[in-house]
C-alpha cells in the first residue's frame, strides 16, 4: 500500500504502511519525517534531549516590543515560505486572529505555511481558500467542520497530523513539531509581551495551550486588543519569551469565546445518561476523589448530580481538573472541591473565578498531560467522563472521525484524560439512527485497555479488562450489560450501517497516541 500526497502534478512520495500494536496500518513516514508505529501503552521509551529555541541577547530587544501592524511584526521576525506557525485555541469559535494573520501572509506573497494550531474551529472556514491557493501547505492539528470536510475529501496537500493536547506539547518538546513562529492571541498584554487571558474585552481564562509556543518557538508574537500598564499580572505568558507585540482592534468575538452562562442540557435522554454516570461513580466509591470535569452536555449534567450527592454525603474532593464552568466554580466556592486546575475556561463565571480565586489556577498541557514530563496530573484523577463518536466491542474508541469516515473532532485532551483510574465514555446508544457501539471503530483513537466503562441510556458496560471496577460496582443495582448486548440493542434498533465509502489507498491524515507514535490512519472519503 502506498501513501500519496494529493498533488497530481507532483511525483507521489511513497511510504510503506506497517501494522501497529492495535493491528492498524500506519505509514512509516509522514510529510517526509520517519514515524514510529504505536507499540502499546507505555511501551515507547524516548531518548535524546529536548529541543530548545535559538540563543538570543537581551540587548537586541527594545523596551517597547510593539510593531505597528501584523505585517510589520511578520517582516520583523522574517517570515518565509514553508515556515511553521503555531497558535493556541483559547479564543475558540470566536477567534479573529488566525484569519487576519493569513490574510496578511497572503498579501505578503508568502506560501506553503504549515499551520499547527492546538485546534481549528468552524470560524476558520475562510482558511480553506488559503489551503486551496497554496498560502497554507497543510494543517497539523484537529480538523473539524468545513476544514475537516476539505481534508477528508482529499483536497489538502500533505498529511494531517492529529495530536492530543498533551501530544502537541510532547511533539514540540521532542522536535517532532518545530514551531518557527508562535502566534499568541492574548486578551491582555503589556508592551514587553507579558500576557494573561484572565481579563480584557476578549477574556478567555487560561492561556495554557500557548505555553509550549511561548517557550519553544523560534519567534513569539503576542497579539492583543488590550494593552495594559507594565507589568501585566498575572503573567501566564512571560514577556521575556516574547519577540514582538502586535495590537489588533479586536482579537475575538467575546460571545463565541466563552458562553455567558453555561446551561445544563434539557434533553431527557442526556439527563438520564448523566444520572447513570452519577449512580456509577457513587456505586464505585469514587465520590470525593479527584475528578476531570468537562463542559460537554452529559459530563456537565453528571457533575451537577455529583455535586448534589457529595453535599448529601458530606464529601469533599481535593481537586478537580477542568474544563471549568459555573458548576465547577460553585463547587469550589461551596467547599465541595479544594482546587480547580484549569486547562480551559468555558464560561464567564469561570473566567471571573480564575482571575480572583487563589485556588482556581490555570494549568498547561505540560503539567496536565505531557508525555515527556516527570509525571503529569492525568493519573491523579479518579474519574473522567468523556464522549466518543464510536466504541467497538473490544472497547477501542474513536473520537476523531464519524462512522462515514469524515474528520469530525479534534482529540483535545481526550486521550490524555484516559490515564485516570476510571475513564467513562458516556453517550446515547445512537445518534440520528447511527449506532455508536460498532463491531470495529472507523479510526482507533484509544486502545481497548484505556476505556474502563461505557455508559448509555440502555445500560452500563464495564470493560472486562477492568475486573477491579466490575468488583466495585456489581450487586449495587446498576443496569450492567455487556458491550455485545449494547452492540446488539443498537443495531437492532438502527439496522446495520452500510460500509462507508472511503478510499483505503489514499490516507489523508494520521492519528498519534500520546507518546507520538501512530495509532491509526484516516483515509479519503469519496464525496
Amino acid at each position: 500500500m502506498t501513501l500519496r500526497e494529493n498533488k497530481p502534478e507532483e511525483e507521489m512520495p511513497v511510504a510503506e504502511m506497517v501494522k501497529n500494536a492495535v493491528g492498524r496500518l500506519v505509514p512509516t513516514e509522514v510529510n517526509g519525517k520517519a514515524q514510529t508505529p504505536f507499540l502499546g501503552v507505555g511501551k515507547f521509551e524516548p531518548t535524546g534531549r529536548k529541543v530548545a529555541p535559538p540563543i538570543r541577547a537581551c540587548h537586541q530587544y527594545a523596551l517597547d516590543k510593539r510593531a505597528p501592524s501584523m505585517r510589520a511584526a511578520l517582516e520583523k521576525i522574517g517570515l518565509r515560505d514553508g515556515m511553521t506557525i503555531g497558535m493556541h485555541h483559547h479564543m475558540r469559535n470566536g477567534d479573529q486572529v488566525a484569519v487576519a494573520l493569513f490574510d496578511t501572509i497572503a498579501e505578503m506573497g508568502i506560501k506553503d505555511i504549515l499551520f499547527a494550531p492546538s485546534a481549528v474551529f468552524p470560524c476558520h472556514e475562510p482558511l480553506i481558500k488559503y489551503l486551496e491557493n497554496g498560502v497554507i501547505h497543510h494543517i497539523e492539528g484537529s480538523m473539524n467542520g468545513p476544514v475537516g470536510k476539505f481534508a477528508s475529501e482529499g483536497n489538502m496537500r500533505g498529511m494531517g497530523i492529529l495530536r492530543s493536547h498533551g501530544g502537541r506539547y510532547q511533539a514540540i518538546q521532542d522536535g517532532d513539531l518545530h514551531i518557527d513562529v508562535g502566534i499568541i492571541p492574548a486578551p491582555s498584554a503589556d508592551i514587553l509581551g507579558n500576557a494573561t487571558g484572565a481579563y480584557g474585552p476578549s477574556a478567555c481564562g487560561s492561556l495554557g495551550f500557548a505555553l509550549a509556543d511561548s517557550q519553544y518557538a523560534d519567534h513569539v508574537i503576542v497579539v492583543t486588543d488590550n494593552i495594559v500598564e507594565v507589568p501585566c499580572l498575572p503573567w501566564e505568558i512571560q514577556g521575556m519569551n516574547v519577540d514582538v507585540v502586535v495590537e489588533m482592534e479586536k482579537i475575538g468575538d467575546p460571545a463565541k469565546i466563552v458562553s455567558g452562562t453555561t446551561r445544563l442540557t434539557k434533553s431527557p435522554t442526556r439527563l438520564l445518561i448523566a444520572k447513570c454516570v452519577a449512580d456509577f461513580i457513587e456505586a464505585a466509591g469514587y465520590l470525593g476523589k479527584p475528578f476531570q470535569a468537562g463542559a460537554g452536555g452529559i459530563s456537565l449534567a453528571a457533575l451537577a448530580y455529583i455535586a448534589d450527592r457529595m453535599r448529601e454525603k458530606g464529601l469533599r474532593a481535593p481537586f478537580a481538573r477542568g474544563g471549568s464552568t459555573k458548576v465547577l466554580v460553585d463547587m469550589l466556592n461551596e467547599g465541595l472541591i479544594g482546587a480547580i486546575l484549569d486547562g480551559q475556561t468555558f464560561d464567564l463565571d469561570a473566567v471571573k473565578s480564575i482571575g480572583e480565586h487563589p485556588r482556581h489556577v490555570p494549568t498547561t498541557p505540560f503539567t496536565s498531560y505531557n508525555y515527556h514530563g516527570k509525571g503529569n496530573w492525568a493519573p491523579y484523577v479518579a474519574t473522567s467522563v468523556l464522549g466518543a463518536t464510536e466504541v467497538d466491542v473490544k472497547f477501542q474508541a474513536n473520537v476523531v472521525t464519524h462512522s462515514d469516515g469524515y474528520l469530525l473532532h479534534g482529540i483535545g485532551g481526550w486521550q490524555n484524560t484516559l490515564f485516570g483510574e476510571c475513564s467513562i465514555l458516556a453517550f446515547p446508544l445512537f445518534r440520528g439512527r447511527i449506532p455508536i457501539v460498532m463491531e470495529k471503530v472507523t479510526t482507533v483513537t484509544a486502545p481497548s485497555e484505556m476505556i474502563s466503562v461505557v455508559i448509555t441510556e440502555r445500560g452500563i458496560a464495564v470493560n472486562p479488562q477492568r475486573a477491579d471496577i466490575l468488583e466495585r460496582v456489581k450487586g449495587k443495582g446498576l443496569p450492567l450489560v455487556t458491550i455485545e448486548e449494547l452492540y446488539e440493542t443498537g443495531h437492532k434498533m438502527c439496522g446495520k450501517p452500510q460500509p462507508p465509502d472511503i478510499d483505503r489507498h489514499h490516507p489523508i491524515a494520521v492519528v498519534k497516541w500520546v507518546d507520538g507514535t501512530l495509532i491509526d490512519t484516516v483515509y479519503k472519503v469519496n464525496s
Partner: protein, 400 residues
C-alpha cells in the same frame, strides 16, 4: 385522483415523502438523507419493501430523511400512498417486537406520559423514563389534516417500539371519529384506550363493542382496558354511570382544561373551579370500583407546583396524574410514594392485627388505642403500594 401526495415532516427522526404518479412499474426512489452515507441502501430497501407490501406500482418517490427509523419510514410511505390512492386498503406492518405484555385491571397508574401521536422522535426513548403508562395521542396534539398520518404512525409504534414496562395507551378521538381510530390499535398490542369527552355509559358501551368486535375478528385474547376522560359538565355529572358502564373500564380521569371551558369558569392556580368536579370523579370511580386518575399538570418548569398539585390529588383520593414531560415522572412517583413514617405506622398496625388474630381477640389495639377496621384497611393499602413501588419494607421495620 391527485398526481402527487406527501406525508411526514423533514424533522429529527422523521422524514418527508413526496409520491408522484407516473413512475416505472417497479417504482423509482430518490433519497436525500442526513444518514444517507451509512443508511442510504437500507432506506431504499425499506421504501421498496413497503411499496411492495402495499401493492403500489408506477410511482416516483422522493425521500427527504432526517435519520428516521424503519417503522417511521414505513408509516410515512404508507400515508403518502393512501393519500395518493384513497382506495388503497392494504397495510405494510413492521415486525412486532417480542410479545408486548398484557396489563392487569388494577395495576399502578401513578403517571401517564402524553406523546403527540404524529411525532416519532419522542417515542423511541419514552419507555426509558419508566412512566406507568405511555399515551400515544391521536386527539388534541394532532391537527385534523394529519389524523390519517398519526393513526398509521401510532399503529407502527405500537408494534415496533419497546416501551419497557409502561402500559401502552392511546387516546383516540372523540366519538364518532374515534371509532375510525380503533382498527389501527386493537390488533396491535394496545393495553388501554383513553376515550375523550365521554358523556354517558352509552358512549363507553359503543367504544367497548367496537373494540371487542375488532378483537374477535383478529383473535386478540389480551384485555383492552378503557379509561374514559370526563371533561365536560355532562361527563362529570355522570361519573358513576360512565365508570360502571363496562367491566373493561379500569379507570376514569378528569380533563381540567376542557371542563373549565365547558362550565364557563376561569382556571385558577388553586383549581377552586374544578374542586367539586374532581371530587365527583373520585366518588364515581370509587362507587364503581375503578381507579380515579387526576388531570394533567402542564407547567413543565414548575416542579414545586407539580409536587403540591399531586399531593393535593392524593388527598382527594386520586391514584394517578397525567404528565407531558419525562422530567415530571420522578416527581410524580416520589409524591405517590408513602412517607416513611406512614409505612412504619402501617407496619405497627399490621403487627397489632396479626397479634390480635393470633390471640383470637376481636378488638385490635395499638398501645392503649383501639384501631378501627378502616385504619387497618388503610395500613394494608399503604404496605401494598410501598411493596409495588419496590420499597424495602423490611428495612424499615421499627425495633421492638
Amino acid at each position: 385522483m391527485p398526481d402527487q401526495a406527501s406525508a411526514g415532516r423533514e424533522a429529527k427522526a422523521d422524514l418527508r415523502i413526496v409520491m408522484h404518479t407516473g413512475g416505472p412499474p417497479e417504482n423509482e426512489i430518490q433519497i436525500t438523507s442526513s444518514a444517507g452515507r451509512l443508511f442510504g441502501e437500507r432506506i431504499r430497501e425499506v421504501v421498496q419493501f413497503t411499496l411492495q407490501a402495499l401493492g403500489v406500482k408506477n410511482t416516483r418517490v422522493e425521500v427527504f430523511d432526517r435519520a428516521a427509523f424503519d417503522w417511521v419510514i414505513m408509516a410515512r410511505v404508507e400515508t403518502a400512498a393512501k393519500r395518493l390512492c384513497p382506495d388503497l386498503s392494504t397495510e405494510a406492518l413492521p415486525e412486532a417486537i417480542a410479545d408486548p405484555k398484557p396489563t392487569v385491571r388494577d395495576r399502578m397508574r401513578r403517571s401517564r406520559l402524553y406523546l403527540p401521536g404524529n411525532n416519532p422522535d419522542l417515542m423511541t426513548n419514552a419507555g426509558l423514563f419508566a412512566p406507568d403508562g405511555i399515551i400515544l395521542d391521536l386527539e388534541d396534539s394532532v391537527s385534523p389534516a394529519e389524523k390519517d398520518s398519526a393513526r398509521i404512525l401510532v399503529r407502527n409504534a405500537l408494534r415496533a417500539v419497546d416501551f419497557g414496562g409502561a402500559e401502552r395507551m392511546v387516546r383516540i378521538n372523540p366519538l364518532p371519529e374515534g371509532l375510525n381510530d380503533l382498527p389501527a390499535l386493537v390488533p396491535h398490542h394496545v393495553n388501554m384506550v383513553l376515550v375523550p369527552k365521554a358523556e354517558s355509559g352509552a358512549n363507553v358501551a359503543e367504544i367497548v363493542n367496537a373494540i371487542n368486535q375488532i378483537a374477535t375478528r383478529h383473535n386478540i385474547q389480551d384485555p383492552i382496558w378503557i379509561m374514559p376522560i370526563l371533561e365536560t359538565a355532562k361527563g362529570v355529572w355522570r361519573a358513576y354511570e360512565i365508570a360502571s358502564a363496562s367491566d373493561q373500564v379500569a379507570a376514569i380521569t378528569f380533563g381540567a382544561e376542557d371542563f373549565t371551558r365547558d362550565v364557563q369558569a376561569e382556571r385558577t392556580v388553586e383549581g377552586r373551579e374544578s374542586f367539586v368536579a374532581r371530587s365527583m370523579v373520585v366518588l364515581g370511580a370509587r362507587a364503581a370500583g375503578v381507579q380515579p386518575i387526576d388531570t394533567v399538570f402542564s407547567d413543565v418548569e414548575n416542579e414545586e407546583g407539580l409536587r403540591s398539585s399531586t399531593k393535593e390529588a392524593i388527598s382527594l383520593g386520586f391514584e394517578g396524574k397525567g404528565c407531558i414531560h419525562p422530567r415530571q415522572i420522578a416527581v410524580l412517583h416520589d409524591a405517590f410514594q408513602p412517607e416513611e413514617a406512614d409505612i412504619i405506622h402501617a407496619l405497627k398496625v399490621k403487627a397489632a392485627m396479626d397479634e390480635a388474630q393470633r390471640m383470637g381477640a376481636s378488638v385490635i389495639s395499638l398501645g392503649t388505642k383501639m384501631i378501627d377496621p378502616p385504619v387497618v384497611a388503610r395500613a394494608l393499602r399503604v404496605l401494598r403500594v410501598a411493596e409495588e413501588m419496590g420499597i424495602d419494607i423490611n428495612g424499615l421495620k421499627p425495633a421492638g
